[in-house]
């Protein structure tokens, strides 16, 4: 019987909404801040209590919002007994903590932050206990880790705080991730992430082969959260947090999340030997171990922390037993532990706050100085010890009762005895809390003279202790809650039972008597035992954790820095090797059809070219250290390749190749002037052999690939281009038509690339000349044994004729490009080369001074012209780059063609010219910076001038 009620969502979200306020309200003062923290909590609590009756008579309240259906994640909540119990605890204690913290936090602690974190955490916890979708639960689960990280690290300036926070995050985070895996597996088994579905599918889950992995992963999450052995070590270190945090997270709520989860999943996961042995054993060990450590802790909070560990172990053990009554006991003890432990933490906080120390060895005799605190503390401690008639006694009796008839691997005694020892130890440390802190003589060496705090601070613990006594005397009051919660845990069927103090003479009674007496004795001989304990060697969890972390970080760092050390050459080697290997693997995966093409003959001239290319390539490798020689060799290679293109019917390629070649070499020469002229031998023989092998492998791969496809025909789309070049594109040079029309968009991108290159080089030059490089340039002398004539007369004169001719040639190549080899790009390069000629003859500075050309503008203009030409087609409603052309005939001139493609090509032309020139300009700027003077005359010396001057001298 379920009831839909969306207000559940409001309850779940209230804390998060509330979290927005403290940060703001802190400006209005600490009280306002506290109030605005309390309000949402109180509101949520009231809303919860409104639902309580329904839930208590067995209803389950649900609410659902779609979130990510693709994943089966929905914001769906449900409130059953167990949920009610925990939600009540979370909100109730939250309220008390808010009050307590208001007085606990000192003036210079950022209170707004604290309350914000607190509310975030509260919301996360609330979410966990109300989620009806395990993915949603996971989200809240992780949120508790995060928010507790913030809370524990609240005192940023304390290293303990920071480390404790990080440790808690690491451990619980790890658990959380494991749990994600477990939950996803559950979802897979059941086919739904809805908790109700999963709880209903217990048998299916237990039957699945994925059961054990899922169980282990989920338990990892639970154990880490609930500080179960061997993950118990983080909890004490989390105690660096302010006491309110410890009281809230580490007694009442977060650490119980693990217990809650086990209780929640009980119907789905429990009832198998795996469950029993893992859970109960871990619980048992934790209980005893925690208690033992607690006994010897001198820091009040540490003592309480380990006692918490121990009690969580107790709960875990009970859930591990897997019997309904054990579940009842667990639920009941959850309530009791909450009451006395929260009270104790607050007491410890008060003591700390008043006496300015939490060290038991420095305390004692506070009974007379702070009677109220004493009363509260004592009652709570007695309950923790399980002394009749306080509530601790009742649940401990039930625990011992369950333990007394639990067999463990066939033995009747293992569990009962260990359980008794656990109880005994907890009696001991509880008594110690009372005796060593409050009893005994008043001392005069407290760091600060203690006295009872203001009401506001002891109100909260007092209230809790009230509950301790009340529940102890009248357990019936909580019976319905326990019943319904336990019912929720077990999934309904509970034996009829009643919570009462007196169960008659039972084994449990004997066990607890033994425990109490033994505990007293143990306390009596604490001093000697303590010495033994201190002397005894034992693993220091923190140290181990730190070392582990150090190792992980160190290892990661070594791995990372060994592989990512900026050795580009290795990166490239790996790149090439991987490529060759994978390419080969891919090739192996299929086979090839028989060759369909015959081989072309190799005429002698081709053979000569072949030799030229191979020899040049080889010598390039041989002489690459002598950089200038390498560049000369490069010239040979470029020349050979262009001739090859001519032979293989690609005149356009030949034109482009040869002109690009030249400009590139120019550029390299210009740069080489400022770089070392030779590379030293740096790589050893082994390295060179290795590289050689890699290189040859790559070469063979590529060669084989090319050879393979050159022997086989494929139908290509190019027939269309051949067919439509003239009619559709208005040009007979199909390559050019492809460039400016069929694939003009490529060319557009390509000239953009050139334009950008120009820009970058310019920007880079500017950056260099305004950086340290400028100093280097100024201070280095680049003029070693140079010839004394900078601008030889002959060159200057020859250029005066050559340059105009070259320009005309450029114009010619541009104009005919559409129908014959050529086009805007080559034309651009030819003109640049013409200008280069001029620069080499008379120098860049002089040439520029004679006639300033704005290369920036030229690039921009080119790019824009090309772009607008393409966009012009829009006016005709055609897509970008749609071309138009027509033939003009003005008698008596023979007809000629006009095409938008040529306008586009003009854009190409301008961009190329501008880009190349801007690059050269940038480099010559550097030259000027390197201290080169600018010549005022076109040539070094003009003899005719001298004679003219002479004549003037005569007359």
């Amino acid at each position: 019987m379920t009831a839909e009620d969306q207000s559940l969502i409001v309850i779940a979200l209230l804390p998060f909404l509330g979290a927005l306020f403290p940060g703001v309200m802190i400006r209005a003062g600490r009280n306002a801040c506290a109030i605005f923290t309390a309000l949402p909590t109180a509101l949520a609590l009231t809303m919860l209590l409104i639902h309580a009756p329904q839930v208590l008579d067995g209803q389950v309240i649900t609410a659902e919002l779609n979130w990510l259906p693709q994943l089966g994640l929905s914001a769906s909540f449900f409130l059953d007994g167990l949920g009610l119990l925990f939600a009540g605890m979370i909100l109730g204690v939250g309220l008390l903590i808010t009050l307590y913290a208001r007085y606990y936090l000192s003036g210079d602690d950022p209170m707004g932050q604290f309350y914000t974190y607190l509310l975030l955490f509260q919301g996360a916890m609330l979410g966990i206990v109300l989620s009806n979708n395990i993915l949603l639960l996971l989200i809240f689960w992780e949120l508790t880790s995060l928010s507790s990280f913030l809370l524990i690290g609240y005192w940023k300036h304390l290293p303990e705080g920071r480390q404790g926070a990080r440790m808690a995050l690491a451990v619980t985070g790890a658990g959380g991730l494991a749990m994600i895996g477990g939950m996803l597996i559950l979802g897979q088994i059941v086919g739904s992430y809805d908790l109700t579905d999963i709880l209903a599918a217990g048998d299916q889950i237990r039957a699945s082969e994925w059961y054990v992995p899922a169980l282990i992963l989920i338990l990892l999450g639970a154990f880490t959260k609930s500080a179960q052995f061997p993950f118990h070590f983080w909890l004490p270190h989390a105690m660096a947090a302010p006491t309110p945090v410890s009281a809230y997270l580490h007694s009442a709520t977060m650490v119980k999340a693990g217990v809650f989860l086990m209780a929640r999943m009980w119907p789905a996961l429990s009832g198998t030997p795996e469950w029993f042995y893992i859970v109960s054993t871990i619980g048992l060990i934790t209980m005893v171990l925690g208690a033992l450590i607690a006994l010897f802790k001198d820091d009040l909070k540490a003592l309480l922390a380990f006692s918490t560990v121990s009690h969580l172990g107790l709960l875990t053990m009970l859930l591990g037993f897997g019997t309904p009554m054990a579940a009842v006991a667990a639920v009941f003890h959850i309530i009791n532990h909450l009451t006395f432990k929260a009270a104790l933490f607050m007491t410890a906080g008060i003591v700390d706050h008043e006496a300015h120390t939490r060290d038991i060895k420095r305390l004692g005799g506070l009974r007379t100085l702070m009677p109220v605190t004493f009363t509260i503390g004592t009652l709570a401690a007695l309950s923790m010890a399980g002394i009749i008639p306080l509530n601790g006694f009742l649940s401990k009796e039930m625990m011992l009762e369950e333990a007394s008839h639990t067999d463990w691997a066939g033995s009747h005694y293992a569990v009962p005895i260990l359980a008794t020892i656990g109880a005994l130890l907890s009696v001991a440390y509880s008594f110690r809390f009372i005796v060593h802190v409050f009893l005994g003589p008043v001392r005069d060496d407290y760091p600060h003279k203690p006295h009872d705090p203001s009401f506001g601070m002891w109100a909260a613990p007092a209230l809790l202790v009230g509950l301790v006594v009340l529940i102890g005397l009248q357990p019936v009051l909580v019976e319905p809650l326990v019943k319904i919660a336990a019912g929720a845990v077990t999934g309904g069927d509970l034996p009829d039972f009643h919570l009462k103090i007196w169960h008659g003479i039972t084994p449990a009674l004997y066990m607890s008597i033994v425990a109490v007496l033994g505990g007293a004795v143990l306390l009596a001989m604490h001093a000697p035992l303590d010495r033994i304990w201190i002397a005894a060697p034992r693993p220091e969890a923190k140290a181990i954790f730190d070392r582990l972390m150090g190792v992980c970080v160190g290892l990661s760092r070594r791995i990372t820095e060994a592989t990512h050390d900026g050795a580009l050459t290795r990166y490239l080697a790996i790149f090439v090797v991987a490529t060759v290997a994978l390419g080969f693997a891919a090739w192996r995966g299929g086979s090839m059809p028989a060759p369909t093409r015959g081989l072309l003959p190799i005429p002698p001239m081709a053979a000569v070219g072949w030799i030229l290319l191979l020899v040049a390539t080889a010598s390039m490798v041989a002489v690459h250290r002598n950089r200038f020689r390498a560049l000369v060799v490069m010239g040979v290679i470029g020349l050979t390749i262009s001739v090859g293109f001519v032979y293989l019917s690609a005149p356009d390629l030949a034109l482009t190749q040869i002109s690009v070649e030249t400009v590139t070499i120019m550029f390299l020469l210009l740069a080489l002037h400022y770089m070392p002229k030779s590379s030293p031998i740096e790589s050893g023989a082994v390295r060179r052999v290795r590289d050689g092998v890699i290189a040859i492998a790559a070469g063979c791969g590529v060669g084989a690939l090319a050879y393979a496809f050159m022997l086989r025909d494929t139908a290509t789309i190019a027939d269309y281009h051949l067919a439509n070049s003239y009619e559709g594109g208005g040009g007979t040079n199909v390559v050019n038509v492809i460039l400016v029309d069929f694939r003009g968009y490529d060319t557009y991108g390509e000239i953009i690339v050139l334009g950008i290159a120009g820009l970058i080089i310019f920007a880079l030059m500017e950056a260099l000349l305004s950086g340290p490089a400028a100093r280097k340039l100024r201070n280095t002398d680049y003029s070693k044994d140079r010839s004394r004539d900078r601008h030889p007369l002959m060159m200057v004169v020859a250029t005066r004729v050559m340059m105009p001719i070259a320009v005309v040639v450029g114009i010619y190549i541009f104009l005919r490009g559409h129908n014959q080899p050529g086009g805007g790009f080559v034309a651009g390069l030819v003109i640049s080369i013409a200008l280069l000629m001029q620069y080499m003859a008379s120098g860049f500075a002089w040439t520029q001074s004679r006639q300033r050309i704005e290369y920036h503008a030229m690039i921009g203009l080119g790019a824009v012209i090309a772009g607008l030409t393409g966009a012009g087609a829009w006016l005709a409603g055609r897509p970008f780059l749609t071309s138009a052309f027509g033939y003009v005939h003005i008698p008596p001139i023979e007809e000629f063609e006009l095409a938008t493609a040529m306008l586009f090509d003009l854009g190409v032309f301008l961009t190329v010219l501008g880009a190349v020139m801007l690059m050269l300009y940038s480099l010559s700027r550097i030259a000027r910076y390197a201290g080169e003077t600018m010549n005022v005359e076109p040539m070094d010396y003009d003899p005719s001038d001298r004679t003219r001057l002479a004549r003037q001298g005569e007359n």
Binding site: V615, F628, P651, H673, S924, A927
Partner: protein, 89 residues
């Protein structure tokens, strides 16, 4: 008859190219290498002209002209690098 002559000429220039290559790799001075490259360029031009005759097409004319122009510029550039370091000071 012209074919024969052409084949002969091809052979000559081909041989010439190889000789240039030899000089280019042997050096000894960078001037020799530049000279060798320049001579290669000239041989290539001749070859292109002859190839045009061989195929009876003028398509390859631009290439040879461009090679001539470009060859000049790069030769000067190489020399200027040796002579002055900065080629367009």
């Amino acid at each position: 008859m012209i074919e024969v002559a052409l084949l002969f000429a091809f052979a000559c220039f081909g041989l010439g190219l190889l000789m240039c290559l030899w000089r280019l790799t042997k050096g000894p001075d960078s001037a020799d290498r530049i000279l060798a490259l320049d001579t290669m360029v000239i041989n290539v031009i001749a070859l292109l002209i002859l190839y045009g005759i061989w195929k009876g097409t003028a398509v390859y004319f631009e290439v040879s002209m461009l090679v001539a122009m470009v060859g000049f510029v790069s030769t000067v550039a190489y020399c200027r690098f040796v002579l002055r370091g900065d080629i367009i000071e």
